[in-house]
Symmetry: C2
Subunit: 338 residues, 2 copies
């Protein structure tokens, strides 16, 4: 049977209230008393009951991390693991715990209800990719503190994101700078904000070089290796001399298609990916790609959430983290190395 505050109080010969104060870092405790109580707590390895605290105080020290489960391709690359890691690290440092919610679309209504009204979560981080995600809408209408991972184009919500537009633009501009004339792209799903943003970056790059957008050189993928493979097959007849692929995973598929077609990389077609997943440096040839600070993204989201939960200001917070072009051999650049 776990110990209670009352037990600790008895052991330390003080009152329940005093123990509670020590536990919560209240200033109004005599230094000597505090020492005594802390000693007991440590000795018996006491852990206050979270449910009771939640009931009494209205806060639990738990935040929810909502991840859309539907997109199973999502698990091919290490995006979510890294995100989780980032969130968790900040949580640990601040005595918060993470509760992971894989939001099955089917049970979404129940999920939303539990998150909002279950009284268990002090705040929520949602990694939503869809533009009209009902969870995001519900949270936005509620008073629950929350932060979105991935910016939202229309809703006025707190968010953190990586600079997808910039990253994609610079990646594409790099290809153009190297003299490529027919730069194609395999995009992500265009109903996802990240997919759109990267596509927009691609368009902006073309525009900045005075080139016009050619629909034949644009293929929509779904982030999966297979869609990269198929996308490249579709592109080949249109003779691109470079391709900006919106995901390393898709770039992997594209590489496979190129290998099958005996196309030389980067001589015939230059390739740039996106994500800098660990394996990208070991592709053949090593993949030029855009590095995103995903762990930091998660950490920033949690940091922002802490801030939102602490203060009661109502202004929304936005944070865009920079991305970085990692030049390797696949783009045909002179500069190489990792």
């Amino acid at each position: 049977m776990p110990l209670t505050l009352e037990d600790i109080a008895k052991m330390a010969s003080v009152s329940r209230s005093t123990v509670s104060r020590v536990l919560n870092g209240d200033e109004n405790v005599n230094e000597e008393t505090r020492k005594k109580v802390e000693e007991v707590i440590r000795r018996v390895n006491f852990q206050p009951n979270i449910a009771a605290r939640g009931l009494a105080a209205g806060r639990t020290g738990i935040i929810g991390l909502v991840i859309p489960a539907g997109v199973s391709a999502i698990f091919t690359d290490p995006y979510f693991p890294q995100l989780i890691q980032g969130v968790t690290s900040v949580c640990n440092a601040n005595d918060y715990s993470v509760m992971l919610w894989l939001a099955e679309p089917m049970q979404e209504r129940r999920t939303i209800r539990q998150i909002l009204y279950g009284g268990l979560l002090d705040g929520v981080i949602v990694s939503s990719m869809l533009i009209d995600d009902p969870i995001v809408l519900a949270l936005h209408e509620s008073h629950k503190p929350f932060v979105l991972v991935g910016r939202h184009p229309t809703l006025d919500v707190n968010y953190v994101d990586v600079d997808n537009i910039y990253g994609a633009r610079e990646a594409t501009r790099h290809l153009l700078r190297l003299g490529r004339q027919r730069v194609a792209t395999i995009t992500g799903p265009l109903n996802m904000i990240a997919g759109r943003d990267r596509y927009q970056g691609y368009c902006e790059a073309l525009e900045s070089f005075g080139q016009s957008l050619q629909q034949a050189l644009v293929v929509e993928g779904d982030f999966s290796e297979l869609s990269g493979y198929l996308g490249m097959k579709k592109l080949l007849p249109h003779r691109p001399d470079a391709v900006f692929v919106a995901t390393d995973t898709m770039a992997m598929g594209a590489l496979r298609a190129l290998r099958e077609a005996n196309v030389r990389i980067p001589d015939d077609i230059a390739l740039v990916g996106y994500d800098d997943m660990p394996m990208a440096s070991q592709f053949n040839p090593p993949l030029t790609t855009v590095r995103q600070p995903i762990v930091k993204l998660g950490a920033s989201a949690m940091q922002m959430l802490l801030d939102v939960m602490q203060r009661s200001e109502t202004h929304t917070r936005h944070l865009i983290l920079p991305t970085e072009l990692v030049v390797r051999a696949s783009c045909g650049s002179i500069q190489g190395g990792d």
Copy 2:
């Protein structure tokens, strides 16, 4: 302000107790009353406070899923995402929620305390790879219901696992059956049970063919691509004609090393991996590998935990799921396909 039981009771003109009964599926409620209450609950979208329930009933409907964060290489392959998915699906179907704990070794003591005494978790699933994991030991000594993912060689605990020994043995035997004479292996870390088991399977296969174990043909890896690459480089001078690699990710690295050395696969060296990760079928050549039912493993773990939490029997439960050899081109077998 969220509604409470009392509010619902008032709206439905019944008592708090009756609402509670309806909420918990108690039989002793008049059908008409139940309908009336359920109607109100649905209408106002009521969600009982989990913390309060936890306090009053001693159960929260939340289970913990503990994953060692230390091993970051872990996130290279989709093992954990799949495991999480399996656990989550069964949870959802049974009105349980998953709380994910990435156990940072540094804060392990705090983690353990919270898990055991926080009063928040009805049960715990631990995916531990290490043999002397302190979390496992602590849980084993506690009374908290828990299930281990990955068998434990010495402790008498509930566990589910895949049949690593069998899988590795059959994979190796397949190579031997094809006439390979010098079958090497790149093992996983030998302080992990899965690593050991697969190595043991390899040994058993050799023995069953009357071949003796040659230390020169055994290299220990750490599950990472790089260690596969390096491992294969180390093996090459000893002229193996086949290699059983304990992980697809490592097999990927091994392939890279073989490609660099201009070794033909499977002609010169046959290769078998382990895991059947999604990309394995798209390696060049497609990788023969061992398929593990990871999603099912997670689901089984949760199912077992439900069982443990429900009944109070004290006998430990064990479940070993079968693995399956997926023959593709890399092992040089005649039969191919997927």
